[in-house]
Structure formats: structure tokens, C-alpha cells
Symmetry: C2
Subunit: 367 residues, 2 copies
């Protein structure tokens, strides 16, 4: 849901406060637009707004909700190095959503990692409250660093359209693009699971975790609730330049939609991108099945149709694969809302993918 | 932050919508006030509002923020059995908060478990969006159950004051209090960690998880940001009837406050409740330390003072203990915001407590 409900009175108050806030901003910082650094995770680079995942002027057919989703910055991250002791971020938002099953930090905030001993280590995360957001203040992600050069990876908001993302560092500090920290280009198209619903920070989606775990660049186009094998999405994917595709497309569609749309979907992508591996994921277990007999049988039906259609697809097409990830720990406690995993569920998902996906990609020289 | 910003115009619209919503409520359901069933987790039973954790008319000295927090239903759960195929909940909210580091589901929503094979298994969770909340609609937690008798445990909101919680079941179904599913009474006083900041559902606090893991009834009085060994909190705790106390009180206070307040705090509780074990927890690792040198040294100083004061306290008082929980996985990825763990961090915390706390409690016949 967008946030159009702030009254005019409130806006006037906020505008007045904004003047004060701007005056109170820390002096001695300089701001650098994130898109001038190394932007990672872009399935379709070169969009007029660099933080849009799809150019909605070029690609048509989306519903109103999808149109917003493909413009959200989910899955994007900016890689840079700096010797600043402070790292802030300032955002100009287009729209943002506030899902009840995902933190504000993940939805409209930021998640910063710094490389230490070859590993991306958590460094800071946060967002402003609704009340503070319109003031245009910087968000402080980390302060009091040691002043040596650090390699940084900053994940952008999952459920926000951003028109500008400025990274603020000390005026005297260096800030430079980092050489691309991930190899190859693996497109990932999917549902709310790929979008990141349920996580507490943008870097905890299974896609982001898998990138950090493997060093492979995952290019996420998750559209919560809308990964239904639509032909207009197939046309977007067919126009992408990637070395492989990973699909999470059996969570949202009905059994009938899977039966009707899967093969034409594969046909469109296959024709445009012959010879690259197309890896489909079985949908994960939804904990909402546990006591709801109807949800249980609907899930079983969806999975049965996907299984049988994928068996057909794997016979008909070469380089098409079907794998089974898991986001379920032994105690089944990783569900936020009966559908979406929490951070740990997504960690398990990423780990389960690594074991199955890497051997497939390796056959294509992707490693 | 409370939500006083809805304009009058919006309230009128919502009131109008509410009429429609009430008319549209599912027919054939009956509503039972949760407090007439088995309310678990109450440190101070018998409050005029049964979902308040502390009677703020009886106990004074709280700041405005603390006054709200002790009235929030964090840590409370209602145990019942029913053969209804549907379980809904209807809430009358007093106030609620919307922290950016915690989901709406955890802050103002519900988390339902059903006992299966002796284990509390996730059954459903959710909350209404801000826009739907004021309509007074039922929230559906689970539907299409099998109609046999089930034992249920429903966790109440963490960051909401609730004036009424009605559980809705089919009109023809039975709903009865469950015999108390947890043994003994262990008071837990603490910070945002005990309150549950960072979780995705109310049942994922370390306190709730520890109750389910051990079968012991944990009575939570977590007050985010305000667990500072204040004398007026000691007076509340001294008036509670418990078999043991577990404290998470070294996260919020400054080193100076720890030095000054710890021994008088123990003295107050000790005099009122002689002979029961008082178990203090060392504060967990905050991931915000990773690159922030100032945060790192402040944390180190706080922990050093707590360690030395607790060494003194353990010498001076019998039945006082100091243990070290951990919420940190090997990859350090369990932090929501540099301070608070996510669900998995709290799972690790609960598991680490079990091993250290149970042997202490056993010495007092608490097992």
C-alpha cells in the first residue's frame, strides 16, 4: 500500500521542520549519487532511473501493482570503497510500501556490509520512521570507523521506488566505485519470496544471501504476488543479458495458470536466449498448511501440477532444470505469516540452493 | 511512536467504512474474551485491565514511555482448546507503536500455535494494515481446520496496549480454557531484547521460545530502552509472586548507572523475595560494534562494569547468579539493526539460556 494519507496540514508542518532539519545536517559531509558507483543486481541496466529494475516506458502490460513493483529497488546494491569514518545515506523516495510482514528497515531502509577477511560482515542498517522520512535527513548507517579504506556493499530498499540515493561520507574522505564484487550474471525472476517479503533487512533475501555465499551476481526481479508466468514478464526476461536464469514461479499462479502458461513462457525465454540454463525452483513449504486443510490441498495441487509440467518441460527442452529448495528448519518456526520465511528461513533457502544450483551452473562455465 | 496522526477527515471515513465492515463480518461466529480463558505470562495477575502487565494506578514513578510499555501486552499468551474450524481474533486497541525494526505482525498482531505430538506447532499469524485496523474487523488466523479438538496458544501483541481481545470461533464450536500449559512462575525483567524488538511474530521472543522449549512459565516485563535498574521497577518486581527471576538489565543502562544502581536493586528484590534465585544475564553482542569503534568501546565498558559488579553481587548475596547467553550465529547475520537479533538470533538466545538456566533452577526444585 502506498502512503498517500498524510494530510496537507501535516505536509506543511513537515516542510517547516525540513528547513530546520537541513540546517541541522552534519557539516563536513559530501554526497555521492549511488548510481555513479558500482551498481550490482541490475537485470536491465541502462534504465532512465538507474534504480528501476525495469523501464516501464519500454515494457508494457504490467498491472498497476506490477508497474510499481518493477520500479522498486529490491535486489539492487551499491559497491564502493571509502576511508570515511561515517557512512550516511540520503534518499529521495518516489513511493514506498509498508507491508505488515516485513520490517520498515527492509521495506524502505538500507543494509550495509563491509568486507573483512574476505567476508561481507554486517556493518549497519536502518531507516527513518514515517514521521521523519519526509524531512530529507541523512540516515546514519555507521559512524566512528577507523578511517582506513573499506570495501562496502549497501543494499537498497525492497519495497520502495527511489529517485535518488546519495551516499554521504566525510568531505575529506575518498569514495570510489568498487570493482564489481560478483561474477557472471544470473537473472532471478520470482514471487514475494524473491522480492524479499518477511526479511528484516534487504541483504537477507535468499537472492542476496546466495550472491554473498557464492560470489555470483544474482539479478533479482521479484514481484510480490505477481510471479505468474505472464507473457509480458517473459518478454522482459527475454530482453535481458544473462548467463543463466533462476525462477521462483510456482508460488503465485493457480494450478490452471501453471498448466496453461509454463510452456509458452519457457518458449519465449528459450528462443531469445538459447543455450543458457533455465533453472526452475519448486515452491517451498508454506507453514499456513499446517492446520488449514484447504490451504494444504491447494498447495499440494499446485506442487503436483508444477512437478508434472516441469517433468514435461525437462523432456521437451534442453538446458531446463527443476530443483527443490528448502526454507524449513526442523522446528518449522521460520514462517512470518504462514507464507513467507523469516531471515533464517531465507538463509536455509540460500544454503539449499547453493548445493543444487552450483553444479548445474558449473556445466556452463559459471562458477 | 504512537499513531496520533490520522486526521479527523480520515477518522470520519473510517467510521463510515466501519459500519459496512461490521455488516460484512462472517456470520455464525461467537466471540469469547481472551481473559476468561487461560492467560499465561502475567507477572502481575489481577490488574483492572487483564492485558496490562503492570497496574499503573498502583505503581508509580514510570516515565511516560515506560507507562505505556508496562501496559502493552508483550509476553502475554492465551491458552484454550476449541474444535472450531476457524479461529479469528478481534481487538480493541488502546494505543500501538510501529517500530521500524519489528514487523507489524509482531507489534500489533497475533501469533497462534496448536499443539501437535506434544509440540507447539505454528498455526497462523497476522495483523491488519494501519488502514484496516480502525474498522474493527476480525483478523483470521486459521480456517478450514478439521473440526477436532485442538489445544491452542495465542500470543498477544508486543507493542500495543489492548483493551479487549476476543477470540472468535464457530457458533456451534466449543471453546474452553486450557489447563495451564506451563509450570512454575519465572519473572523476566528486561530491555527491548526481552520486550521482543526485532522479531517477526510475538511467539519468537527469547522469552516465549524459552517457555515453549522448557515448559516453564516465563512472565515477561520487557520495556524497550528502559531496563535501567530503576528503583521503581525494583518495587514492581518485589511485589510479584514468582519462583525465580531472570534479568536482562545490562543492555540499557550506562556504566555509571550499573555501578550505582545494581546493588540497591538487588537489595530491594532480595528483601521482598528471600531465597529465590535471581539470575542476571550478561548482555549479548551487538553487531553495531563491528566497525564502530566508539560503540565497540562503550559496549566493552558496559560489559566490564556489569562483570565486575556482578562478581561483587554474587559474593555478597546468596542465590544470585550471572550467566552469558548468546544470540550470535557464526556468520554474525542475526542482527536486525545493529542492536536487536532477528528471530533466529532469539532462537539461539533461548537455546543458550536453556543450558545455563535450567541447572540453576533445578537446585530450587524448579524443573
Amino acid at each position: 500500500m502506498t502512503k498517500p494519507t498524510l494530510s496537507c496540514v501535516l505536509l506543511v508542518v513537515l516542510a517547516a521542520l525540513a528547513v530546520t532539519a537541513r540546517a541541522a545536517r552534519p557539516v563536513g559531509l559530501k554526497h555521492v549519487e549511488a548510481s555513479t558507483l558500482t551498481l550490482c543486481g541490475q537485470l536491465m541496466p541502462g534504465n532512465p532511473n538507474p534504480y528501476h529494475r525495469v523501464d516501464t516506458v519500454r515494457f508494457k502490460g504490467f498491472t498497476r501493482a506490477e508497474n510499481l513493483q518493477v520500479r522498486e529497488s529490491a535486489g539492487l546494491a551499491v559497491a564502493f570503497k571509502t576511508d570515511s569514518r561515517v557512512i550516511n545515506v540520503r534518499t529521495v523516495y518516489g513511493q514506498y510500501q509498508s507491508p505488515v510482514n516485513t520490517t520498515g528497515i527492509a521495506a524502505r531502509g538500507y543494509d550495509l556490509y563491509v568486507r573483512r577477511d574476505g567476508t561481507w560482515r554486517y556493518a549497519g542498517s536502518g531507516c527513518k520512521s514515517d514521521q521523519r522520512l519526509l524531512l530529507g535527513e541523512d540516515l546514519e548507517l555507521v559512524a566512528n570507523m577507523d578511517g582506513s579504506m573499506h570495501e562496502c556493499l549497501l543494499y537498497l530498499p525492497l519495497f520502495a521506488e527511489v529517485d535518488s540515493v546519495q551516499i554521504a561520507v566525510e568531505a575529506s574522505a575518498r569514495i570510489e566505485p568498487l570493482p564489481r564484487p560478483f561474477r557472471h550474471r544470473i537473472g532471478v525472476w520470482g514471487s514475494s519470496f524473491t522480492h524479499g517479503t518477511g526479511v528484516s533487512r534487504a541483504g537477507m533475501t535468499y537472492v542476496a544471501q546466495l550472491s554473498r555465499l557464492t560470489g555470483l551476481e544474482m539479478l533479482s526481479l521479484g514481484c510480490s504476488g505477481h510471479s505468474k508466468l505472464q507473457p509480458y514478464f517473459a518478454r522482459v526476461l527475454a530482453a535481458a543479458q544473462v548467463d543463466a536464469f533462476l525462477f521462483d514461479c510456482f508460488s503465485n499462479p493457480s494450478p490452471g495458470e501453471i498448466r496453461e502458461r509454463l510452456l509458452p513462457f519457457i518458449e519465449t525465454v528459450r528462443q531469445a536466449l538459447p543455450g543458457i540454463p533455465l533453472v526452475f525452483q519448486r515452491t517451498i513449504r508454506r507453514e499456513g498448511r499446517n492446520f488449514n486443510l484447504k490451504a494444504d490441498s491447494l498447495e499440494a495441487a499446485k506442487i503436483a501440477v508444477a512437478d508434472s509440467m516441469m517433468a514435461l518441460a525437462c523432456r521437451r527442452y534442453s538446458d531446463v532444470y527443476y530443483i527443490t529448495p528448502s526454507a524449513t528448519p526442523p522446528d518449522h518456526l521460520s514462517s512470518v505469516d504462514g507464507v513467507h520465511p523469516d531471515d533464517y528461513g531465507y538463509t536455509l533457502w540460500a544454503r539449499s540452493l547453493r548445493g543444487q544450483l552450483l553444479p548445474i551452473l558449473k556445466k556452463y562455465g559459471i562458477e
